[in-house]
């Protein structure tokens, strides 16, 4: 079903279409030629539906959103027809609107929620002012508008009065994002375009917002276009899915069809490349190759360079939409073929050895490489009298964690942002001095003899503990070439090598991690590398000095979905070569599961500075004992659409204030199973290991004869406005 109408003034093509794009392109003139960041797209959005638009970074998905509102930034040029069909009025051609009409159209008919909630608010204005400004700019009655605002905020589980009187910095990221959604709905638009609205948020918050969207959509008769790179996130939410690849739609269809029976090879590959909790590891494989450059889109089908079933036809002819079922369009010449053969083709093109390692036996007497004992890290200043007029405000980021990491071990820390997982990781590799407790490297205290200095005194220990950062953009110095970046550790630790030796070694490493031709890459600057390449260079930099433990701080979460699996595979492969241990940090349980299960490691779940559960991935994923782990498990989106997404297992959405920690078990303020005893007593880690794997849980429910079972339940009410999420 391609779109047959072209003129905007024509009758509406179908009673229930709200927005129609016909042969819409967005172009940017660049010194290297014209860059087509949206390439002749035809698309229809139906009234009251939720469309999920999925694409990797640089696939043109943000441009698609901007084109719908004719909001492409200068000097971009939008061509083609974008037509908006109001419910009971004449169709509007969005591209022909005057400035004033566009201004009205943009908030009152179609509104947009952007990715960066942090920067969408003016920090010196109260939240109320943001709402009042929006209302008065559109000549709405402010009083009545604020009534609606209160209602909206309440629907989003926010306290209206407190929110309106707050400044943006007083709200957490999740609250800001919800206020932003309320702000976009304040003029009662017909359609909401959301560009990665949850990308900067935690899994739990993402999931909570997604389930709120469902209610909001029902209540306000909204049409939602949800743009994201994260396929599982929208899998449950969307009625229809559209997959963007290289500035064009690869496949559009009902969500069930796309997920269960994708016809385009790219969709298939994308589904396989997405780490999730249920699929066997063997089925996850990366997509080879990279997305094309907008200046230089391949001839014919844009996916053919990466497609395993591409033939002559694909190289020469750009496929039009093929009808693959009701409402299901696919831009592939071989879509019928693809359903049958693609998995085989993909399987044979996968070159990596995918044998899964078995969990190494950890005998009790084996000496750990790094051993953390009762670590405590505090931030903030104590009021040190004279000349310090501030309040003493101490945040305990890590509170009494003990953890042993063995040789060739993998421990993945999982938790919400602010739970102290990064602080714990940095403490473990000696980049953060603990306030209390000791860290031992092969039996030696790593901070011994360092005094007050911020670096470790023992240089051998310093070498043995390395780090790979989250953001590939800032982990490499943008002013140095790859050669200089990689030469630095060699110069420091292998001073016997001369310039040619270093060059050869770097070339060899680059080739080993699949960056080729290495001679070409060695003289590049970081900005000339893609995200995945940067992350591999950062990984090599840490590996070149052969550390015993590498802290991988969200090492894959900034990468595209199609690159995550391959990067994790590379890390695992390098571990085999080097006998390195990893302490990985992730907010994403599915990545953690892939990494830990493939290496036979452990997953540790952190909550507010404490380790609440640790164990083998099988146990943590399939048999979580701690209610918080269960909540994380719930929050991890699945490709399986049958799951019910509405029952949030937590009593409140927001994390308690860190300067004022809850007493007893810290999770009791959100735990659905909390009882009175949890308020006062703090559970220790309880060993629940059995023949299936190791597991330690800090919850009274793990004990069969505990007074917990006789205690009164705390609350049975549904998720309420945040009683604990005070940010004062």
């Amino acid at each position: 079903m391609t779109i047959s109408q072209s003129a905007a003034q024509a009758d509406r093509p179908n009673g229930d279409v709200i927005m129609e794009l016909d042969d819409t392109s967005v172009e940017f003139g660049m010194s290297r030629g014209r860059s087509r960041v949206l390439n002749g797209v035809d698309f229809e959005v139906s009234r009251d539906e939720i469309v999920g638009v999925i694409g990797e970074s640089g696939s043109g998905k943000s441009m698609f959103a901007s084109a719908m509102l004719d909001a492409v930034p200068e000097p971009g040029v939008t061509t083609g027809d974008v037509t908006y069909y109001p419910e009971d009025d004449d169709p509007v051609s969005v591209t022909d609107l005057s400035k004033e009409e566009l201004r009205r159209f943009r908030w009152e008919e179609v509104s947009m929620v952007f990715q960066g909630a942090m920067s969408s608010f003016n920090p010196v204005l109260k939240i109320r002012t943001h709402f009042v400004e929006t209302l008065s700019a559109h000549d709405y009655n402010v009083e009545r508008g604020l009534e609606r605002v209160r209602e909206l905020l309440e629907d989003l589980y926010l306290e209206p009065e407190r929110m309106l009187e707050s400044y943006p910095h007083e709200l957490s990221g999740g609250m800001k994002q919800r206020v932003l959604i309320a702000l976009s709905l304040v003029l009662d638009p017909e359609m909401l375009v959301m560009d990665e609205p949850t990308a900067a948020l935690d899994l739990l918050m993402q999931r909570s917002i997604i389930s709120l969207l469902h209610d909001i959509q029902d209540k306000h008769d909204l049409t939602i276009v949800f743009i994201t790179h994260d396929l599982p996130l929208v899998a449950n939410l969307a009625d229809r899915l559209a997959v963007l690849y290289a500035f064009e739609f690869a496949e559009v269809g009902p969500a069930d069809d796309i997920l269960e029976d994708p016809a385009h090879p790219y969709t298939r590959a994308l589904l396989n490349a997405t780490p999730n909790l249920s699929a066997p590891l063997e089925e996850m494989r990366p997509i080879e190759g990279e997305s094309p450059d907008p200046v230089n889109i391949p001839e014919g089908c844009s996916y053919h360079p990466r497609c395993p079933i591409a033939d002559e036809m694909c190289r020469s002819h750009d496929p039009d939409a093929y009808d693959a079922g009701a409402d299901h369009d696919v831009h592939c010449h071989h879509w019928e073929d693809s359903i049958e053969n693609i998995d085989n083709a993909l399987a044979s093109s996968g070159s990596m050895d995918r044998s899964r390692r078995t969990a190494a036996d950890r005998s009790a007497d084996e000496e750990p490489v790094v051993s953390l004992d009762d670590i405590e890290v505090e931030f903030g200043s104590e009021n040190d009298g004279l000349l310090d007029f501030g309040d003493s405000e101490i945040v305990t980021a890590v509170d009494g964690i003990s953890l042993d990491i063995y040789q060739n071990d993998v421990v993945v820390l999982v938790g919400e942002s602010g739970c102290g997982k990064t602080t714990l990781g940095k403490t473990a590799v000696g980049l953060q001095q603990p306030t209390d407790g000791t860290i031992e490297y092969k039996g030696r205290d790593i901070w011994e003899g360092s005094g007050n200095s911020s670096t470790l005194a023992d240089k051998e220990i310093r070498r043995a503990l390395q780090i790979v950062h989250q953001d590939p953009g800032s982990s490499l110095n943008s002013h140095h070439r790859v050669r200089t970046i990689l030469e630095t550790p060699l110069k420091r630790w292998h001073s016997d090598l001369d310039g040619n030796d270093r060059r050869e070694r770097i070339l060899g490493m680059l080739e080993y991690v699949g960056i080729s031709p290495p001679e070409d890459y060695i003289d590049r600057y970081p900005h000339q590398l893609s995200g995945g390449e940067k992350q591999r260079v950062a990984l090599i930099r840490a590996m070149l000095i052969n550390p015993d433990l590498i802290l991988a701080d969200e090492a894959v979460s900034a990468l595209d979905v199609s690159l995550r699996v391959s990067t994790m595979d590379l890390m695992i492969e390098l571990q085999d070569v080097f006998n390195t241990s990893y302490l990985a940090i992730s907010h994403d349980l599915s990545n953690a599961r892939y990494f830990a299960e493939k290496t036979g490691g452990r997953i540790g779940v952190m909550y507010l500075g404490e380790l609440v559960e640790i164990g083998s991935p099988e146990q943590i994923i399939h048999d979580p004992k701690h209610p918080y782990t269960q909540a994380l498990r719930w929050a991890t989106p699945e490709l399986d659409r049958d799951e019910d997404i509405d029952d949030n297992p937590m009593r409140t959405i927001d994390v308690p204030d860190q300067t004022n920690m809850p007493s007893g078990c810290r999770y009791h303020t959100r735990c659905p199973k909390a009882r009175e005893v949890c308020r006062t007593q703090k559970p220790e880690l309880i060993d629940r290991s059995d023949e299936d794997g190791v597991q330690h849980t800090a919850c009274f429910r793990a004990l069969e004869d505990h007074e917990y079972w006789d205690s009164e339940p705390i609350a049975e009410e549904p998720p309420a406005a945040e009683e604990t999420g005070s940010a004062d």
């Binding site: 860059s35 971009g76 980049l431 670096t455 989250q470 953001d471 800032s474 490493m509 000339q528 893609s530």
Partner: protein, 383 residues
């Protein structure tokens, strides 16, 4: 450094295997040294790739001094030059500043110093070829005065600018990176200098150091004595943001010396800012010097643009058209050098920008890879 040895005996060279073994994990089949000959593939460019581990790769050709010199030239001379060559501002700046330097070095020998009653009084511009820029009211040659004051002005300017930038950057970078007690001490010193009123301090110091003041280097430093503090403050705040970047943490994790981190990791990010400030400092030194000569605070010992201005002013050049050239010549000289410095600062900005450097690097082949495809597009799309 080790001398270049016969490249063919690489595999048996003990250096190739043994020294790195301690860092490389033990492999069960440790039959490297002897068998390496057959197992390693020789790369086209002379290196070897061990099939098993790229971590043991060493070059078969030892690095020579020429290689290093060549690399140095490529990095610090050829690439910057190829960037500057295409920029008119750089060429104009080089032309202007080159002229001044020529005047200061060669010009002083070509044009004789002048004295009172050297020629007729207040001769106009281009009236005779003996005094092309005219004469003063005491019959001195204006051109000779202007030319002979150039060397000391240039030296003073350079010493003042270098002093400002070196002290300012040192205080700023160290205070910002080290934090804690070091930061407190250095920042306090900086604040003291910010709060001392600059002009009175210079005047007082000029009185106290009278016998030094005729040395242009000392004078330049004296004039910049209060100028570095502002630079130190702003550099410190920039370092505060840079030091929290991941690559600095990675450098600390690799145990790179603090000196290295400051010089190689942090300073490159600040160089555009530092250079612009250096040029500004140079300009300010000239202006300050001219102003102080004009005010009569500094002794009139030497020929100087500021002294010329003062004399012209006293001779009533503001309202006597016959003396106007006496005022204009030093003014043009000052403006010219200021423009040259500004243009140079603007064009040097490009040399430090890695994106522009990348476009100019000599990759040795014609089909250069597209440099910043994605990022350019992203910048454009405001993503």
């Amino acid at each position: 450094m080790k001398p270049s040895e016969d490249p063919s005996d690489d595999a048996t060279d003990p250096r190739a295997g043994a020294s790195i073994d301690e860092f490389v994990p033990d492999r069960p089949d440790d039959a490297t040294d002897g068998a390496a000959d057959s197992a390693t593939a020789v790369r086209s460019d002379g290196g070897t790739v061990d099939a098993d581990s790229p971590f043991e790769t060493t070059a078969s050709v030892a690095e020579t001094r020429t290689d290093r010199v060549d690399r140095f030239f490529e990095e610090y001379i050829r690439t910057p030059w190829s960037i500057l060559r295409t920029d008119w501002r750089a060429l104009a700046a080089f032309a202007i500043l080159g002229t001044y330097i020529l005047i200061a070095t060669v010009g002083v020998y070509l044009i004789e110093p002048t004295e009172s009653a050297h020629g007729p009084q207040l001769l106009g511009v281009f009236e005779t070829w003996e005094f092309p820029l005219g004469t003063t009211s005491s019959g001195k040659d204006v051109l000779a005065l202007a030319v002979h004051s150039t060397p000391s002005i240039l030296v003073m300017m350079a010493s003042g600018a270098v002093f400002t930038v070196v002290i300012g950057s040192f205080f700023g970078v160290v205070a910002g990176y080290k934090g804690g007690m070091v930061d407190t001490v250095l920042s306090t010193i900086t604040d003291v200098f910010i709060n001392i009123p600059g002009l009175p301090l210079v005047i007082v110091l000029a009185m106290l150091l009278e016998e030094w003041i005729n040395n242009p280097v000392a004078l330049g430093v004296l004039l910049a004595v209060a100028a570095w503090a502002g630079l130190a403050r702003s550099i410190r705040s920039q370092v505060l943001t840079i030091r929290s970047e991941s690559f600095i943490e990675a450098a600390r994790a690799m145990d790179l010396p603090t000196r290295w981190i400051l010089l190689r990791e942090i300073i490159p990010h600040l160089l555009p800012y530092i250079v612009v400030n250096m040029m500004n400092a140079a300009r300010r030194v000239i202006f300050a010097a001219v102003a102080l000569y004009f005010l009569g605070v500094l002794p009139f010992s030497d020929a100087n643009w500021g002294v010329m201005l003062n004399n012209a002013y006293n001779a009533g050049a503001l309202y006597r058209t016959s003396a106007i050239h006496w005022l204009l010549v030093p003014m043009i000289a000052i403006t010219g050098i200021a423009i040259g410095l500004i243009l140079l600062a603007q064009s040097l900005d490009q040399v430090f920008n890695p994106r522009i450097r990348a476009r100019h690097q000599d990759l040795g082949d014609d089909d250069q890879i597209e440099p910043d495809s994605e990022t350019d597009t992203k910048d454009m799309m405001n993503v």
